[in-house]
């Protein structure tokens, strides 16, 4: 059917492969993992972020994540005692895992993610929610993402948080339709991830966009990479 052309599983895998090629070029850390029986798989990335300690931070296992700061931007030496006020905890590193899977029911990509401290303690949903930037919170509650819930990862069988996919095609189809109209090639994984990722701390360097528009865009894919300007 006509939807399969846009969002079929083969198309999904093709665009993920292109996406990963670019990621490898710029060292962005995305890789493909096949399921044990190799019938399908997902794209994943792990990165580490520093919890931004503030004077109001709480004790205990709850991570009061103010905003998402990439590790490179964090100051190297640990927070000095002088920089924190009475109740603060030391800076903590949180490990984030992002998985991009394909939903054959909705025929769209879905973003799964989880976060934990380095000792393995997982972050609760309310901690994740606290880490979402204010401007995204409003939009998340209104959709098209609906909300974040905890669900079982369909390939690993473990608890992950998920951005609901049911409205994805609503905002993705216009992007693809428009790009075809003006004959511009778009990697829909790049488009989609750049829209939903930032809401949960996942940012894409701009070079992904320029790489996508320079691709030949033929669905069967090419092996040789054109050099990026």
């Amino acid at each position: 059917m006509e939807e399969d052309e846009f969002f079929g599983e083969k198309t999904f895998q093709h665009y993920c492969a292109e996406f990963i090629k670019h990621s490898q070029k710029i060292g962005d850390g995305w890789e493909w993992r096949a399921s044990k029986d190799c019938s399908d798989g997902y794209m994943c990335k792990t990165h580490f972020q520093v919890k931004n300690g503030t004077a109001m931070s709480h004790q205990g296992t709850s991570a009061h994540v103010q905003t998402f700061l990439p590790v490179e931007e964090a100051v190297d030496p640990p927070l000095d005692d002088f920089e924190v006020t009475e109740t603060t905890t030391a800076a903590e590193v949180i490990k984030y895992e992002y998985h991009v899977l394909y939903s054959c029911s909705y025929q769209v990509p879905v973003l799964y993610f989880r976060a934990s401290f380095l000792d393995g303690r997982p972050l609760a949903l309310k901690d994740i929610w606290e880490g979402v930037h204010e401007c995204y919170k409003m939009r998340l509650l209104q959709g098209p993402w609906d909300t974040i819930t905890q669900q079982e990862h369909p390939i690993l069988g473990q608890p992950f948080f998920v951005l609901h996919p049911c409205k994805t095609s609503e905002f993705l189809i216009p992007v693809l339709k428009n790009s075809r109209k003006i004959n511009r090639n778009v990697n829909y994984i790049t488009s989609w991830l750049s829209m939903v990722g930032p809401a949960v701390g996942l940012n894409l360097p701009l070079s992904y966009a320029t790489a996508a528009s320079q691709e030949e865009g033929n669905v069967s894919g090419q092996d040789n990479q054109r050099p990026l300007i």
């Binding site: 054959c104 669900q151 390939i155 069988g157």
Partner: protein, 300 residues
């Protein structure tokens, strides 16, 4: 649909006699007696165990109680799986009652989803129903329903009200007269032998040449390892055939072809009632054949 009603009722009212025992390391102020309950196959553990929780909390101190979770022979039980599915997958070959251990500490974060309230169960259930309708009707039927219809579906399940539930669910089980069935059949196949929690793929109820697909066709296509072919000892030239060990009898009529799936899609039971009484032999035969072929782990 009315002639299938007895099968639908049998599926809905299926029960599993269960014995709940408090985990021995939980701290109690006095001895905790086990608690017996008949669990509905089509429901969810955290939805139907309020009495179990109250019973054990009576002998514990508040500070020793955090989120309840259940375990069977060391395996944490996923509350978001239908009860019947959990039983079939893990305990169907053991003697009844089903012995479940109750925990109030050390929640296994890596294995289980949290269930802080009934709302979470409702959200999960509704999302399953919506996903099934996405496959059956491109979400048209579920989206055309009002919020109060969605609520009625949930309340029917929560309060064990067959008629209330099916008043709404029957709309999700219909398809236009000109079609031969749903767009795709919503199904999931669970096996204990795989790391992957379940197999779910797109599968049409009718083949390209217009033949109605059977359960056997589905299994052969998406889970071939569970279908052991019976290889004859001598192979006659021109006659060599590989046949599956069971005969997936054609289930007559478009409606019945999807009856099996209806049961899953609407109620999430683990056992598929293939058809009404006169086809009951098929389900029994399937189970026997499957056992004999040594693929007992296969449970639909």
């Amino acid at each position: 649909m009315t002639d299938d009603k007895d099968v639908l009722r049998d599926v809905w009212f299926g029960r599993i006699p269960t014995c709940f025992t408090l985990y021995q390391d939980e701290i109690t102020e006095r001895e905790a007696e086990p608690y017996y309950l008949l669990l509905p196959r089509v429901s969810y553990l955290t939805l139907v165990t309020d009495k179990v929780k109250k019973h054990f909390q009576k002998v514990m101190r508040q500070e020793d109680i955090s989120e309840i979770w259940f375990e069977y022979e060391g395996t944490p039980l996923k509350w978001h799986y239908p009860i019947g599915l959990l039983f079939d997958l893990l305990a169907s070959s053991s003697a009844l009652p089903w012995n479940i251990t109750v925990h109030f500490k050390s929640f296994p974060e890596k294995d289980l989803l949290h269930c802080p309230s009934k709302d979470v169960i409702e959200a999960h259930f509704m999302s399953c129903v919506k996903e099934a309708d996405a496959l059956k009707h491109k979400s048209q039927v579920i989206n055309e329903m009002q919020k109060k219809d969605h609520k009625q579906l949930w309340m029917g399940l929560q309060n064990d009200r067959f008629d209330q539930f099916w008043a709404i669910n029957r709309k999700l089980m219909e398809y236009p007269a000109e079609e031969n069935g749903f767009r795709y059949i919503p199904f999931r196949i669970y096996q204990t032998t795989t790391e992957r929690p379940f197999i779910q793929k797109l599968f049409r109820p009718v083949s390209t040449d217009g033949q109605l697909h059977t359960l056997g066709d589905l299994l052969k296509e998406v889970c071939p390892s569970a279908v052991a072919p019976e290889v004859p000892n001598t192979v006659l030239p021109g006659e060599a055939k590989i046949e599956p060990t069971f005969e997936p009898s054609r289930i007559a009529g478009g409606r019945k072809a999807s009856l099996a799936v209806k049961c899953w899609a609407s109620q999430g039971p683990s056992r598929v009632f293939i058809a009404r009484k006169k086809f009951h032999w098929f389900r029994t035969k399937l189970k026997q054949q499957v056992f004999r072929a040594g693929v007992q782990k296969f449970q639909l």
